[in-house]
Symmetry: C2
Subunit: 351 residues, 2 copies
């Protein structure tokens, strides 16, 4: 899982908690001018700007629940743990500025493994221009756990909530859906093959996009800026972490509206379609319930349609209706099917 040519792994307890934090974060640079004090005190200190509002979001990732280290490289895991949180910040129409990173690790992880994990955190922090300003490091009785909190800023009054969708608004999604879930299927299959034949060489090339969507997702940092450039302010926005259907239900519930989603409009990558055929899965179901795509789902007023039309990043997939009309998928055959939440749910062991 990590390279260590002389095989002399360092036990975490050699460094101790304080030594470990210092060691893992010593190369982290502060770049945000709002960061007054980063790691190294009881708390980080961040300057405030009364023209801005601050957004805060947090996510937990647990080994055995959210990731499987038999095929998730630690560097990718560190990267993804950051992305998952930043995606929530962008979904508020905000810019991420700082994160805290806490980890709990069992003593099966040497310091070198945590260095690789933190290299992934650092890479994401650099690319997305956020400062790592704090965290906690502790031992666990079993497995690895990462808890990240992200802070961001948005101009006062410009945060976009789940609750602003209005009847007749258009439902728009960025990118394409289902890739991360199919990437997971590919990796799970390769894991089983490897168990049977440890000499097998996986050819993941035909699935490169899917595997990347699963292992190294990106957050849509381009979208808040793109919308500003286009002069479009969404009426509601959410990120797609649990699956399209569950996010649509969130918007509808919070906005007290209904929705028609058109099956034939759901954007799918050709690799998703072919992998679904290979696995004998329905690609619509995967897009609706797969999750982990970290795309943004938002609603806009119909007046704004000409501004987003033909933009390759944005697809109109439905429209908002009166609450009484309910929430439906309109199938390719024209059938109206009630949409239910089947999003990936970390609390249900059977999914």
């Amino acid at each position: 899982m990590f390279e260590n040519k002389d095989n002399s792994h360092t036990s975490i307890s050699n460094l101790g908690e304080f030594g470990l934090i210092d060691h893992l974060t010593k190369n982290f640079k502060i770049k945000q001018k709002s960061t007054v004090k980063g790691i190294g005190d009881d708390a980080a200190v961040i300057s405030a700007d009364s023209k801005k509002e601050i957004v805060v979001t947090t996510d937990l990732l647990l080994e055995g629940v959210h990731f499987d280290l038999s095929y998730v490289p630690l560097k990718h895991l560190g990267y993804k743990a950051v992305i998952v949180n930043l995606s929530d910040v962008y979904a508020m129409n905000a810019e991420p500025t700082q994160i805290t990173v806490s980890i709990a690790v069992s003593n099966r992880f040497p310091v070198e493994a945590l260095e690789i994990l933190y290299a992934g955190v650092q890479t994401a922090a650099k690319i997305y221009n956020v400062d790592v300003v704090g965290g906690d490091t502790t031992s666990s009785t079993r497995g690895l756990l990462i808890s990240i909190t992200a802070l961001g800023t948005v101009n006062k009054g410009e945060a976009i909530y789940r609750s602003g969708a209005k009847e007749n608004d258009l439902l728009v999604v960025t990118g394409d859906l289902g890739g991360a879930y199919m990437g997971l299927q590919i990796l799970e299959r390769e894991k089983e093959v490897f168990k049977v034949n440890p000499n097998s060489k996986a050819d993941l090339e035909p699935y490169a996009y899917l595997v990347e969507r699963q292992l190294k997702p990106e957050a849509r940092k381009d979208i808040p800026n793109l919308l500003k450039e286009l002069g479009v302010k969404p009426t509601a926005m959410i990120d797609i972490s649990d699956g399209l259907s569950s996010e649509i239900l969130h918007i509808c519930k919070n906005s007290k509206v209904g929705c028609n989603l058109y099956e034939d409009k759901i954007p799918l990558d050709p690799q998703v379609i072919s992998a679904c055929e290979e696995f004998n899965l329905d690609s619509t179901t995967i897009a609706l319930s797969g999750g982990e795509d970290y795309e943004l789902l938002f609603t806009i007023s119909t007046e704004d349609f000409p501004k987003i039309k033909a933009n390759p990043h944005l697809t109109v997939i439905g429209h908002i209706t009166d609450e009484k009309e309910g929430i439906h998928l309109i199938s390719r055959a024209g059938t109206k099917i009630p949409l239910i939440a089947r999003g990936w749910n970390a609390l249900k062991g059977d999914e």
Copy 2:
């Protein structure tokens, strides 16, 4: 561990992740006027004030590492998890304003158990006047984990760091030390007694203060205000979570100074002294290394001494020296003993 008269426990998976968060936080009220949006969107939104700075701190608590549910009631655990974070906020001279609360639980915990845990969180939030604005809820493969992030505000430029101590400053501690650690010893002993004889009735009355210090600690919210009233601005401040010696070392390292700590000045409660005698432990060692007292340790200029003198909450325990003089405990016998970090360290399994 919790009361449920009809024995009909609700499985967490019955509610699902979204249902669970809604259920657990439905009685939580928003009281801070800076909270624009609490739980229920991709992120919380908090208004900023350019006269203030924002502090952020985070802590992880794991079952089997930081707490033992065989004697820690879930309500106390929820309460303490909040306090641990608020203590860090006060140590910056800031007022806590918002927290996020994430939990990972195995399916051995019914919803009713989490309700009790959250009741503890809610009680602390109410007493300390903070809003619970977000969090994450997920399953774990084993045990219970709580990750809390606290936000607070401090007037611009008034945050107190670990790095400001100067030669000749006085070292001051609030309250008394060692109680939480001795409380833990009492509880661990009762657990062993109970294992041998499940019918034994523990008489914890003589140890009430110690047990309370361990199970239901408070953060020193009174101290930043008290110091303001007294007209004292500490030059450096830290909270005592790992033990007095490790916190002194943090201040000295960050401030590039030395320190003399006087053994006979260390404030000890009579219950700590008698419990130490009973357990044949050295009370100075316990105060130095016990940890979890959540008192504040700070340094003040000698000019400020008359202002704090005779205040029952504050004890001068030493003074800051030049870095070259090192960091020492001056024993009752007058011997100079180098101070080393023996603080409670969650990364070392053997402590």
